[in-house]
């Protein structure tokens, strides 16, 4: 099953351990990062081959589809941790603050036409029963029968308990498009239009061919592809701040000012998925999010059985807990899709490729892995190593060169570029512990080449909304959100499109061409090659977002929690196949 705090772990495990950060800021960017639970027998490594560009065994959780534990026993309430209270239940609204509730509800209350798991990259049909692509810029989805939940709050709208039609999906997409987009995004920059040619058909057209259209960064997003009743998309904001109505498998049963959120089974949830009969799902009666802000309290709650799952801060914590609880719990690890990076503004002197290459050569990724993650991470190139289908192999010459630090060579490059060693450069970072720690490591490493770095810490909201969003930096570093496919990691290198530039204000024709070639290649086999080629081009240009590492996540669940979906990215967050085997 997926991690209990449903994507909030990304922020909470990183920030709440040592710093007191606001709940709202912490919920500000929920993501699909999940801790991993399980393989059988408490074994720590779930296998996985060396398919990443990073050497050695890839600690990817064994792929389990949720049916591996035999016939499910219906009933029971799963209890998972909620580290921060959601400021509102409204999935709309500008900016990052709505990501939290949108994603939380996106994996629970709202249904979607499809979802693309990280491991296969293949479309899994949800409400859609058929998808056709008559041409490179058109997708036509036929949806099956489903109804919205019955919610008293929205009874007067006419949406409560109503059958879903295609226009609900069309209007939902359009409603999300009214909001401020985040970066170069699907709804604003790629999607041309969305219509309903028939009551059960949805047609999406794009401005140009877009191979990633189905993924969770695009039309399969667990946020912007939320299916909501068209009646409540406007004028119901007051109600939406407190309640939600969708057609997903969980009904929002209640909460306390955004904390202790309770979901209960939607008995009329659709019975089909990807050609399979899923009658009876979800097997659980519900999921309770238990509000626990403090990490120590959360671990204590897990140890005593107050919550059923937990995401550890590191391997030691996992081993310690395993030694205490033994066979009562099942632990596991998986490679995260989030990654750390150093970003440079594309202005002099960073427009000089020699400077960028020098910086890259000063970064010792192995050392960073040791210092920041106690060795439990893998080196990261333009796309995170978790995207094993697409990531370049270890023995690729470009990768080998890119990942090899060389201080002497870096100094030569800086000298050749006329680097001013007297100038001090501000490296801005947020006050999240992971970003602060990364900044300190980078300062130390860059100083070996004579680069003077001054660390400037900013509070998270200011850093995000101004420093990063408005590109008010020369250097900045942070942890990227985890993305389920290579699209977004590569999109960050694309130059300005219709006024939305990347954070670095970077633009290189060859990089654009390579990234877009991959994004517009509809043949999967060819796309893999083009994604790999795009990575080589990015590395060759030392594009000014130097990715450093992706951490390994450690998690556990109690052994009575069955039916977990593992190794499939955020797909497990839906928890439809989860069940409890309590005697």
């Amino acid at each position: 099953m997926g991690e209990g705090d449903l994507g909030l772990r990304y922020w909470n495990s990183r920030i709440s351990r040592r710093r007191v950060l606001a709940g709202a800021a912490a919920t500000a960017a929920a993501a699909g990062s999940i801790a991993i639970v399980g393989c059988g027998g408490g074994s720590k490594n779930n296998g996985g081959g060396g398919n990443g560009g990073n050497g050695g065994a890839l600690p990817t959780a064994r792929v389990q589809d949720g049916y591996q534990d035999g016939p499910a026993k219906p009933g029971g309430i799963l209890r998972v941790r909620q580290a921060t209270a959601l400021p509102s239940m409204n999935p709309f609204g500008p900016g990052i603050l709505t990501l939290a509730q949108g994603l939380t509800l996106g994996f629970t209350v709202f249904d979607h036409m499809w979802y693309v798991p990280t491991d296969t990259g293949e479309v899994e049909l949800f409400l859609a029963t058929k998808v056709e692509q008559p041409d490179a810029q058109t997708v036509i989805a036929t949806i099956g029968d489903a109804t919205f939940q019955e919610k008293q709050t929205f009874a007067s709208s006419g949406a409560s308990g109503r059958k879903i039609d295609a226009e609900d999906i069309v209007q939902s997409f359009k409603r999300y498009r009214e909001e401020v987009g985040i970066g170069f995004d699907f709804l604003h920059d790629i999607m041309e239009d969305i219509t309903s040619p028939g009551p059960m058909q949805v047609k999406i057209t794009t401005k140009f061919p877009w191979a990633w259209i189905f993924t969770s960064s695009n039309a399969g997003s667990p946020l912007v592809s939320n299916i909501m009743p068209k009646e409540i998309l406007h004028g119901w904001e007051d109600k939406l701040t407190q309640d939600a109505i969708g057609s997903g498998h969980w009904i929002l049963a209640g909460h306390e000012n955004g904390a202790n959120i309770r979901f209960r089974k939607f008995p009329k949830f659709r019975t089909f998925q990807n050609g399979r009969d899923i009658t009876g799902q979800p097997y659980l009666d519900g999921v309770d999010f238990v509000y626990i802000t403090d990490d120590n309290a959360a671990l204590a709650a897990f140890r005593t059985g107050d919550i059923d799952t937990y995401g550890f801060s590191g391997r030691k914590e996992m081993e310690d807990t395993q030694s205490q609880l033994g066979d009562k719990i099942v632990t596991g690890q998986d490679l995260s899709r989030d990654y750390l990076n150093l970003m440079m503004i594309y202005e002099p002197p960073f427009t000089d490729i020699r400077v960028r290459e020098a910086f890259n050569k000063l970064i010792d990724r192995d050392e960073a892995i040791l210092l920041l993650n106690d060795g439990d991470a893998l080196k990261c190139g333009p796309i995170p190593p978790a995207h094993k289908k697409y990531v370049l192999p270890d023995n690729d010459p470009t990768v080998q060169d890119y990942f090899t630090p060389n201080v002497a060579e870096a100094k030569k490059l800086l000298d050749a570029a006329g680097w001013d060693y007297n100038q001090e450069w501000e490296l801005k970072h947020s006050n999240r512990p992971v970003d602060s720690s990364l900044a300190q490591v980078l300062q130390q490493q860059l100083s070996r080449g004579g680069v003077k770095i001054k660390l400037v810490q900013e509070d998270l909201v200011k850093w995000f909304s101004q420093t990063l969003n408005q590109s008010q930096f020369k250097l900045t570093c942070f942890q990227h959100l985890p993305y389920e496919d290579p699209d977004l990691p590569l999109r960050f290198y694309l130059s300005a499109k219709e006024g939305r530039s990347n954070f670095m204000k970077y633009g290189e024709d060859e990089v654009d061409k390579a990234v877009l070639a991959a994004a517009q290649e509809l043949n999967e086999e060819e796309r893999v090659k083009k994604v790999q080629e795009a990575q080589r081009v990015v590395m060759k240009h030392y594009s000014p977002m130097l990715n450093i590492l992706s951490a390994i996540n450690f998690g556990a669940r109690y052994a009575y929690v069955k039916g977990s979906i593992t190794g499939r990215g955020s797909y497990g967050l839906f928890n439809r196949t989860t069940w409890l085997d309590k005697a």
Binding site: G183, A297, Q324, K462
Partner: protein
Amino acid sequence: MTRYALRRLAWLPVILFAVSVIVFVILRELPGQDPAAAIAGQGARPEDLAAIRHQLGLDQSLPRQYAEYMKNVLSGSFGHEYNSKREIFCAPWNSGDCLFWDKFEPTAQIIGLGLFFAVLFGVSFGVISAMYRNSVIDYIVRVFAVIFSSIPEFFLLTLLIVIPSYLWNYAQPSGGYVRLWDDPMHWIRLMLPASFILGISGSAGLMRLTRTTMLEVLRSDYIRTAHAKGLRQHTVILAHAMRNAGTPIVTAIGTAFIAVFGGNIIVERILSIQGLGLWFFTAALIRDIPVVQFLAVYTAFIVVLMNLIVDLSYGFIDPRVRYS
């Protein structure tokens, strides 16, 4: 005394007005404080930011914004929280309609209980320590006072969580605060141990202050006279010494009492309590101007009020105090 109190209270609106103006200007004018940018986040275009500013009324002139704000305040509304859109403050008999009382209740209870234990232990042990000066009891109490004043309360609270879970497979109840009558055991398990720890931690300083003050008083002639008259020890202490030592102790308690109304973010976070401290911090972080504005003025109100109450209490404690 009544006239004195009224005179002090007359300054209250002036002080609150000044605080509200200062906070109002700071929240809107200082660099990096643009709530529109904070709300809009990345990718926001200038027109998007302009739309948000217009929605929040931030595109009007500062005096106009303040006039609008005061108009609302005088009609009983302190505005709405940005994200939840809920009313920030309302009358206690309508407490379900706004956020303030939801946050105030748990804060007041945990901090209030903590203060109760702090006063109980601090004053009691301070008196005992003074009475048995330089005895074993005195040394033990003073050592504990030094220890507990050195250890931060959040560390003690963390130990309270970690140690029982390791040793006895016991954890504090999860899910944060619940009302006593909704789940008495949950309330007792969450609030009492934590407030006890807070009390012990807070009592250290109060104990030392009480001891010092009492020692000074116990050396006085009138105490010697009281003993000479044959009064019992507890009568001397309670009826004579305590009253004379009371002023600085009451001052310290009064200052600590402000936290009852203002919250303690670290405590709230460790205990998963959605209290005032966490609310204030969150609002400041995400530039939720109405909430920050309200809580700043509210804090000023509490500080002024508590100072007045403490000042007035001097008159009851020490009859020699007269208010001119």
